[in-house]
Amino acid sequence: MNRKIGVYICHCGGNISDYVDVEKVKQAVVNDDGVFLAKTTMFACGDANQKEMVEDIRNNGLDGVIVASCSPKLHLLTFRAVSERAGLNKYNYVHANIREQVSWAHSDNKAGATDKAIQIVKSAIAKVRLAEPLMPFRFPAVKAVAIAGGGISGMRAALGLSDMGCPVYLIEKSPFFGGRTSQWDVLYTSGQTGGQMVSELYGELLKRENVKLLTGAEIISGSGNIGDFKLKVRVTPRYVPENCNGDKLNESIAACPVELPDEFNFNLTKRKAIYRNHPGQFPQTAVIDMTSCTRCGECEKICPEIDLSQEEEIIDINAGSVLVATGFDPYTPADGEFGYGLSDRVITLPEFKRLIELNDSGLVHKGRRVRKIAYIYCVGSRQPEGDNKYCSRYCCTSVIHSAIQAKKKFGDITGYHFTRGIRTYGKQELLYAESLKGGEIYLQSYEDDPPVVEVNENSLKVRINDILTGIREVSVEPDLVVLVTGMVPRADNSVGALFKLPKGRDSFFNEIHMKLRPVETVIDGIIICGACQGPKNITESVNSALSAAVKSFSLVNRGELEMEPIVATIDEETCEWCGACYEACPFDAIRKTVKGTREIAEINNSVCKGCGICLPVCPVDAIELTAYSNREIESMIDALAGSYPIMTTK
């Protein structure tokens, strides 16, 4: 067939044309077989060029289009949409990446970059010559969203989705909703406590009929696709019914012989194997921690309603999209890092926050009155040596706020802040100003010269070469050292592992593009938000949660989605049914069928994910993948091999 192909080569405003001679690329392909027109353009993605493409396609009846520009991850969909608007099937569009994989990768070698761009455009031409129009598969989308994680982000996203009219499953692994926020006392800037904030959200969620709340619930398997995820959730029983409450419950708890450190208070206090929620946690009922319960039966004797025979339940959930809001862990310092572990008077910021809340009249830690506190910033963040290169962004404001709270509550406290430069960005700057006015003392270390914590038998000493007072060693002997620890990805990566969520350089879950698709992941239908994506404060988490909610909603709202028609196809003449493809397929999309007198393989298109894993296992080469056929791949290889001189200069 004679093709009429249009080729557009993008300058990308210099991003490409500074290194690739785009005019030369155009000249090299304009006379290629099937090429009807070739143009260069300043911004292929710009409105003016898009309009021009539509007109070119319509006026000339183009039946194949190529844009050579940035990575297809950015703009493949943009140009497919352009083709569609012009009445050209979007699978007759082929994208050529000459920015990330050419102009930027070879900015050291302009001649080499230009040659490579030519070969890449030629291979795209080879592919588009063979491209067939395809119709996307349409399939129903379940109008429900499953949310993994019942902290502030998950709860707020649930409320948002519910109010937009979308059924929600809110799945929390621990026995209580509220996440990290329930552990914080007075919040900046609202002045309410974390518990009050969680309480309000939980109260609202209880009023929503389309919200299913699950605690003690762990997603143990996930299958399916965008529009139709199937989750199995294991729900651990609480063992303590609601009618076991009040004094009876208190006595039952008192009777429990098993005592454990309470993780809610970062082990500053203890709890029993049967225990109640803390004030900021919901639901406000008790639970038995079966991993430590000895089944001695002491609690049952007091509260016969307690039912240790309750069994875990497996619930099946069907959702069109999964929203992941699994949060963060506070960084745990290494043994000896700024004295951590060497003295029990060296604690972390989250521990300190709990300590403020747990004390009333004066600040007492391990039986000692605390008056002088050294705060050491950026512990576990901005590490020159370690893996955590990033700034955790919330900690400066958080510790300054905590220091002010401690001063307000206990009066006689002086804080010495050993900083690496304060980052109270935006309006938070006012809090820093307030702290300075309140007499807190700020010191700053040199980048390569962090403060040193000396742990002696009866005392602590923090030394710093301070920038702010002019290269002078300053030392303080505090009663307590607070390590201002940042956020790290949750150690429990079960949800991430289940869906194979990609991680960024900072090891947090990664979005597709920070600005274009900030809450989507490369796994279609899986949306991320909150601190599992990177450090965020509460406002920022809520903004991302609601953005995620509206994104999930737009996926399932219409009840129907489109799927790429990229599937495996069987050559019925060649296939001799040996079962190798059936064995290889991870999705059970292949089965045996009878055609006339012969047994052959058959693909179930609605299950096939187009991975191609069945292709190489076929002993008679009877399987092809749409858009990746032997002819297409081999003609691309032919074009890439080309006849151009492959000489480079260094």
Binding site: V102, P502, P586, P616
Partner: protein, 135 residues
């Protein structure tokens, strides 16, 4: 700056659309340079590469073929690494039959942020191919 012309090996990379191709993109973003005679064809999954495509590349004059495999991150299942390994083995056997040095086919798992590793691997493969001056 013009300097002495040096040859670099022609390498065909099979990358994967969701995992290793983003890493190769990021290598560009970070301006990590590698020879411009390295070309990429992206496929959905590295376990779906046909040996005949690889052999075709040698026939057409490529010095080396590099499979930037999904590794354990593959979104199509755990069998990916094994299967990619198997097809590489199978291709090595076919290469021996055709008197093509098996070392001209390499595979490494390239995760979605393994840009530096990709560039390191490709540079070392390029050096190997040039040193053994296959063509």
């Amino acid at each position: 700056m013009p300097g002495p012309a040096t040859k670099s090996a022609r390498i065909l990379v099979f990358s994967t659309e969701k995992i290793s191709d983003p890493a190769i993109d990021m290598a560009g973003l970070l301006k990590l340079h590698y020879p411009p005679t390295v070309y990429t064809i992206a496929v959905p999954c590295s376990a779906g590469i046909k040996p005949r495509w690889i052999l075709h590349a040698y026939e057409k004059g490529f010095d080396g073929v590099f499979i930037a495999a999904d590794g354990t991150d593959c979104s199509y299942g755990d069998s990916c690494t094994d299967r990619t390994g198997r097809l590489v083995y199978q291709t090595h056997e076919l290469m021996k039959q055709k008197n093509i040095e098996p070392a001209r086919l390499r595979m490494a798992a390239i995760c979605s942020i393994c840009s530096e590793s990709f560039v390191k691997q490709i540079k070392s493969f390029n050096e190997y191919l040039l040193r053994n001056s296959i063509n």
